[in-house]
């Protein structure tokens, strides 16, 4: 649905986006993550055609954003970093204006406005002045304007900034539902958001793509990979016996406390079944066996840290 090919954007001597290529298909939610100033917003602006790229091109639903901008733009719903609101209009007037310029059929407008207001939790707020809304509600109006024309591609630049935890859950579920038959690109620096919503993430820093992978794939890039943490109560040291098991590739002894031994186990596949059997045979009491995957945060810091 979205194809970015060798996108580069220079501002004077500064290269904000550097040779960025990726593709996102229908039904995917892709997280675009990177530190502040990494080039996320500029990339979003290149994708929506707000700015022309210095070189490279973007196509949305088969339409080149700069060759046939009107066709491409019809397919795009865009929520910029700051929700683009006219503070002097009421929510209803604002959404009607957006529906008109986005080309929603006259006969459909009232129905669509009702639908999107309900979807973002603004039902009954038609007459409220946009300027009087709090940040979270402004964000919702911003989301409402992005989806009013039922676009096939959604580009959301930090969509949940300023939302409270309860609104957050609602909006995330909402974005997830939207993605069923759409393409969603979500730019953010909030990693739990990516974990909650995306299967795939593109990590960008200094304008360059550092990684474009599934979340699991990204986590696997962290040196140690998946670890298993064990807590076992036994009379003698269990580490050698665990280490001897075929299922285990390495054991770190993490010490003991009140007779409970703490171990960290590395293994190519889940060794817990084998260890449980070992415990049973030797009469150990297993207090805990936890799979501990590297978090996205670790993976992110690993990638971004490498670069700097």
């Amino acid at each position: 649905m979205i194809v970015a090919h060798k996108l580069t954007k220079r501002f004077g001597g500064l290269t904000a986006v550097d040779d960025v290529s990726f593709e996102v298909g229908t039904g995917q939610i892709v997280g675009f993550i990177g530190p502040n100033g990494a080039g996320k917003t500029t990339t979003m602006r290149l994708l929506t055609g707000f700015m022309p790229a210095s070189s490279g091109h973007v196509s949305v639903a088969g339409h080149d954003v700069f060759e046939s901008p009107m066709l491409a733009r019809k397919q795009i719903g865009y929520l910029p970093e700051t929700p683009p609101l006219y503070v002097d209009l009421s929510i209803g007037q604002y959404l009607r204006f957006i529906a008109e310029i986005r080309g929603v059929e006259r006969s459909q407008r009232t129905r669509r406005i009702g639908q999107v207001m309900e979807a973002v939790g603004l039902s009954g707020w038609e007459r409220r002045l946009v300027g009087s809304l709090s940040k979270g509600y402004r964000q919702r109006v911003g989301l409402a304007q992005a989806i009013i024309h039922n676009p096939s591609v959604l580009i959301l630049d930090e969509p949940t900034s300023g939302l409270d935890p309860k609104q957050l859950v609602g909006i995330r579920t909402f974005i997830q539902n939207l993605a069923e038959d759409r393409t969603v690109i979500l730019s953010t620096h909030i990693l739990p958001e990516v974990e909650a919503l995306c299967e795939r993430a593109i990590v960008i820093d200094n304008g360059r793509i550092l990684a474009d992978d599934s979340l699991d794939g990204l986590r696997d890039r962290v040196g140690d990979g998946v670890r298993y943490r064990l807590q076992i109560r036994a009379h003698k040291n269990v580490a050698p016996a665990v280490g001897a098991s075929d299922a285990v590739s390495r054991v770190d002894d993490m010490g003991a406390e009140e007779g409970v031994q703490y171990l960290q186990v590395h293994a190519s596949s889940d060794p817990r079944h084998a260890i449980a059997k070992l415990a049973q045979d030797n009469g150990w009491a297993v207090h805990a066996m936890e799979r501990h995957a590297p978090t996205l945060e670790e993976a992110f810091l690993h990638l971004v840290g490498d670069e700097r």
């Binding site: 602006r45 055609g49 707000f50 009107m70 019809k74 865009y78 683009p84 609101l85 002097d88 310029i101």
Partner: protein, 237 residues
Amino acid sequence: MTAVWAIFKKELRVTFVSPLAWVFLAAFLFLAGLFFYLGIASTGTASLTIMISNLSIALLFLLPMLTMRHFAEEARSGTLELMMTAPVPLWSLIVGKWAASVALCLMLLVGTLLFPAILAYYGDPDWGVITASYLGLALCCMAYLAAGVFSSSLTEEPVAGGLLGVLVLLPFWIAGTAAEMVESAPIRSVLRELALQTHVASFSKGVVDTADLAWFVLLTFGFLFLTWRSVESRRWR
């Protein structure tokens, strides 16, 4: 066209909910009344010539205040990003904004129709001259507003946009004054052609000349075209 109409309606709505339009309306009608009175008091004739020529100068300073928000505000609040990623050609955004300001000015001019009505009650004014004068004033408004829209596209600061509008228009007025002071005949005639006063004057004498019409139309389209260039160039920054 749907987009132009949508933008037109939105702009008028935004203008009327802000106090700006109402303050402007009051200031304009006050000035018009003053010029009308002074015109009658000084000449003693049932004519609007003085009022029209004074208004054409006063509007040069007033109208850029009406258009100063247009692009400056949109750039500052981030709504320009919305408009420039919407499936709407840029010209329709410019024309919609300009047309909304023109509509507001035409409403103001309709408000001043009270003055010719007073003339008609007490005297016998020349309706041909009055119609031509109003046409001239309306054309003046269109050109000023186009210049105002253009200058608001040059900055993100509305007040700066307004002042720039005045600065952009002033040379056309100064050209008229300068023409009277210049010795050389060819330069004088060029300055006269450039001058606002020359073209307004023929309308207020009741003469509708295609050359004057063309001058205003050219000025209007020229500024709207420059606006288009200026907003388009934002993309590249």
